[in-house]
């Protein structure tokens, strides 16, 4: 078929309502992450699959290898052509291009995946459809016994709350129907389950997706979040978002995420919910061997091949442990390596060291800061030989450690480093990362506000019992760069995105304080200067007096008759009276 002079491959079928000049590819989510892992676990042999909307690229090779057939529904004609050409005939992939309402596939599908919600599904050719209408159109494709994996975006999610400029106010070319007004969107996990039931589907498990919709990095089962003991901070840390990207934020979403977990609101305020549901009927071709996992969490701050999705299981006693990993062999890039077998079975309890030090700084509790930093130095020293450290402790950063009130424990011990790092340099690297984040986030701290990250780092090292030497910070920065480069990630400075609105206000307050201090210094210096000027003035007068008096006396004396002493006394007295 030829459209617009372009030859569509035979596996691309136009169903009507296609967008000829549109592309969603620029916003392609890329790696499937934990959503892909969820699909692999709950649909080990997915049968006939329909992927509604742009598919995560990382998932397609697996799907085409495991499913009986794969169909992808795209609204963009250029994207459909590109995908059709990437998976030419014989590989079981069909691309339907157009409006969901115009797709008609007799018999439906054994699995329908709408992992990205509905916002990239509809084309302008159809009248605006509500969430419920679109859901009904998709649900009809789920065959008896078939499964649906669906993501629904939460309009009150943490990411929305943190947005200074909400996406629904952007009014981009994709917003021909304004966002944020659809009252049929599910308002919570329970509402989502009710919507499923209204279309004859039964929810198997619903997940809260963090830190943002789209390609979430963490999926935590809602039933787990809403029952039993609180989720450990180490798990919350994995779910939290670091502020990055080009979005303007009101507040740090990671901070909001931590609070949502602490207040028991994580399931309600999750940026999105992903649900696994099935339709009653004949059993699926191959039912999964195990139930959907409690949680799936992807790595942060590293690219491939490091980014691994971990399964987390909450044990009956409330402790969290890692599930089996699919990637159980060690791998290395440069001097950095990873062995997931060394990760440890249990997620440690306790508070993340980062947060504990930030709190102590906020309280100006330097005693606690010293105690924590000495514990950190001690932890590193235990592993040191001849003043150098190697292996896992290189990754004992403040955001990879928890403090249980007595000792520090590594959260993820799977990282290794092949090479010996001087203890001072390693501590400088760890503390510099912390200092950059502390200052960037505008947290209160007890050190002069004019202190640079390097000065704070040196001070923290001294509090921990080590005095940095010349060159240590430079070597720490080089080490940071080497690790970041190996991880395919960015250093702590580059990771920061745009400052949040709260941070801007804090930064403004800090500048105001700094200006106040500078003015106080100027006032003090001016006062001292005035005092010195007065003293100088008086000294000059005294000097001038003394000089003039002496000159006058000398002159009179020169004119006085030789041998006359009485008049000289008179002259001196007279001159002094005049000059003073």
């Amino acid at each position: 078929m030829r459209v617009n002079g372009l030859e569509a491959p035979p596996n691309v079928r136009l169903v009507g309502g296609e967008m000829l000049t549109w592309s969603d590819a620029v916003r392609d989510p890329g790696d499937a992450g934990c959503l892909g892992e969820l699909v692999r676990r709950v649909l080990p042999s997915p049968g006939r699959v329909l992927v509604a909307g742009p598919p995560p690229e990382g998932l397609l090779p697996w799907l085409t290898g495991h499913a009986a057939s794969v169909a992808v529904l795209l609204r963009s004609f250029p994207d459909a052509l590109a995908l059709g050409n990437r998976y030419p005939g014989g590989r079981g992939l069909t691309v339907y291009c157009g409006e969901p309402g115009r797709l008609d596939v007799p018999g439906g599908f054994d699995a329908v995946l709408a992992l990205d919600g509905f916002h990239r599904l509809r084309s302008p050719e159809a009248p605006e459809a509500s969430w419920r209408e679109t859901f009904a159109e998709l649900a009809r494709f789920v065959a008896p016994g078939g499964a649906l994996v669906l993501t629904a975006v939460n309009g009150m999610g943490i990411d929305r709350l943190a947005e200074a400029k909400p996406a629904e106010r952007d009014r981009t070319d994709a917003d021909w129907s304004p966002r944020g007004w659809d009252r049929s969107e599910p308002t919570g996990p329970a509402a989502l389950v009710r919507e499923l039931e209204s279309e004859g589907l039964t929810a198997e498990r619903c997940y809260a997706a963090f830190p943002a919709s789209g390609v979430p990095r963490a999926l935590l089962a809602v039933d787990v979040l809403e029952s039993g003991p609180p989720v450990p901070d180490a798990v919350v840390l994995m779910a939290g978002a670091r502020s990055r990207g080009d979005r303007h934020a009101l507040a740090d979403p990671a901070d909001l995420t931590r609070k949502a977990f602490r207040y028991g609101l994580a399931a309600r305020l999750a940026p999105a919910w992903t649900v696994v549901a099935r339709r009653e009927g004949a059993p699926p071709p191959a039912a999964p061997a195990c139930p959907p996992p409690d949680a799936l969490v992807g790595d942060d701050l590293c690219g491939r091949p490091w980014a691994v999705v971990h399964e987390l299981v909450r044990e009956p006693g409330g402790r969290w442990r890692y599930g089996p990993s699919a990637q159980d062999f060690p791998f290395t890039v440069g001097r950095v390596g990873r062995d997931l077998r060394a990760r440890g079975g249990t997620v440690p309890d306790g508070r993340v060291l980062d947060e504990v030090i930030v709190e102590a700084c906020a309280r100006e509790d330097l005693r606690t800061v010293r105690r924590l930093l000495r514990a950190l130095t001690a932890l590193l020293s235990e592993q040191a030989a001849d003043g150098t450290v190697s292996g896992g402790p290189v990754f004992a950063t403040t955001d990879n450690l928890v403090w249980d009130g007595r000792a520090l424990h590594l959260i993820d011990a799977s990282w290794t480093f092949d090479g010996r790092i001087p203890l001072r340099v390693l501590l400088a690297r760890i503390l510099r990362r912390f200092a950059v984040r502390l200052l960037d986030a505008g947290h209160h701290h007890p050190w002069p506000c004019s202190f640079s990250p390097a000065e704070v780092t040196a001070t923290l090292a001294a509090m921990g019992g080590l005095v940095l030497e010349d060159g240590d910070l430079d070597r720490a920065a080089a080490l940071e760069e080497e690790i970041a480069s190996a991880l395919g990630a960015e250093g702590p400075e580059a990771v920061r995105g745009l400052p949040t609105y709260r941070e801007l206000i804090l930064a403004r307050d800090a500048l105001r304080d700094r200006l106040g201090e500078a003015r106080a210094r100027i006032d003090r210096l001016e006062s001292r200067l005035t005092s010195r000027e007065e003293q100088l003035h008086r000294a000059r007068i005294r000097r001038r007096t003394a000089t003039g008096e002496a000159r006058a006396v000398r002159s009179l004396e020169r004119d006085a008759p030789q041998g006359a002493t009485g008049p000289r006394r008179v002259v001196r007295r007279l001159v002094r009276a005049i000059w003073n």
Binding site: N4, L14, M19, P124, E128, D173
Partner: protein, 282 residues
């Protein structure tokens, strides 16, 4: 703002609807969609639609498509045709049993783009489907082409033309839509080889609709339109020699924007005609 605002007597119809003298029609402060299309209501090269002035479009799908293509400032008022119908409820109307034959609109080019296709083959298809009672309505360019006109006349068909598109400054095209209305109301069917304004106008006044035959090719047709194939995919129910009348009427109502008809006061405000009218009266 642009000459196309005055094509087919559109501005005059709207001026009359607004209570103004249609022969002294003022400038419209915006850009009026002058024909049905399945893009965004205008040609792809619509840079002349200056941002800041409204684009007066016929239906919501045009607004949605236009928005997705980076256009903004749409204002839905429906087609000038619906205002003409409101003002001329009975003109040309004949009892249903007296409506005869088919008025056939071959897909036409325009002043800058010719159409390539076989008229002879089309004539054969028309005769095979419609019989002899056919009125062929040609665009004025093709109507002036004696060769093309002769092909239809030789087949025994009545050949008409509704006139030129016209401008603001002459009376050409001032009664284009009125003449079309009269023709459509006396015919039982309206047919074409591509979907177009005339088909929807016909469906809106009770004609049966048919779309068949060689869709022909517009010279250097813009890819944004997607060709006749895209029309078939979007409106498969309107293609064929027999089309459900109710379905056609429903789609015509949507495409011509009956639901978006504005009142005369609103139009006067939008078009900037209040001030113009006052100045002229003074």
């Amino acid at each position: 703002m642009h000459g196309s605002n005055h094509y087919y007597g559109h501005s005059r119809i709207l001026a009359r609807y607004c209570g103004l003298d249609e022969d002294g029609v003022p400038r419209i402060r915006g850009f009026l969609q002058h024909g049905w299309n399945h893009l965004h209501g205008f040609q792809p090269d619509d840079e002349w639609c200056t941002p800041g002035y409204p684009r007066f479009v016929w239906s919501d799908v045009l607004r949605r498509r236009g928005w997705s293509m980076g256009r903004r400032g749409h204002y839905l008022i429906g087609a000038p045709w619906i205002y003409l119908l409101a003002m001329e409820p009975d003109t040309g109307r004949v009892p249903p049993q007296e409506r005869r034959g088919t008025i056939w609109y071959p897909f036409h080019g325009w002043e800058k783009q010719a159409v390539r296709g076989g008229h002879d083959r089309l004539v054969d298809e028309m005769r095979a489907t419609e019989g002899d009672d056919v009125t062929v309505c040609l665009y004025w360019i093709e109507f002036r082409d004696a060769d093309i006109r002769r092909r239809y006349e030789a087949a025994g068909f009545r050949v008409v033309c509704h006139g030129e598109r016209g401008t603001r400054w002459d009376r050409k095209g001032h009664d284009f839509l009125l003449r079309q209305l009269v023709e459509l109301r006396r015919h039982r069917r309206v047919a074409s080889n591509r979907l177009g304004s005339a088909l929807f106008y016909g469906a809106s006044v009770g004609c049966d609709v048919a779309v068949y035959g060689d869709p022909m090719q517009l010279e250097n047709e813009r890819p944004e339109f997607g060709g006749a194939g895209r029309q078939r995919r979007l409106w498969p129910e309107l293609h064929g020699t027999e089309v459900d009348r109710a379905t056609a009427a429903e789609i015509a109502e949507r495409e011509l924007g009956f639901a978006h008809m504005a009142g005369p006061e609103e139009l006067r405000c939008l078009f900037g005609w209040e001030r113009e009218a006052l100045v002229r009266c003074a």
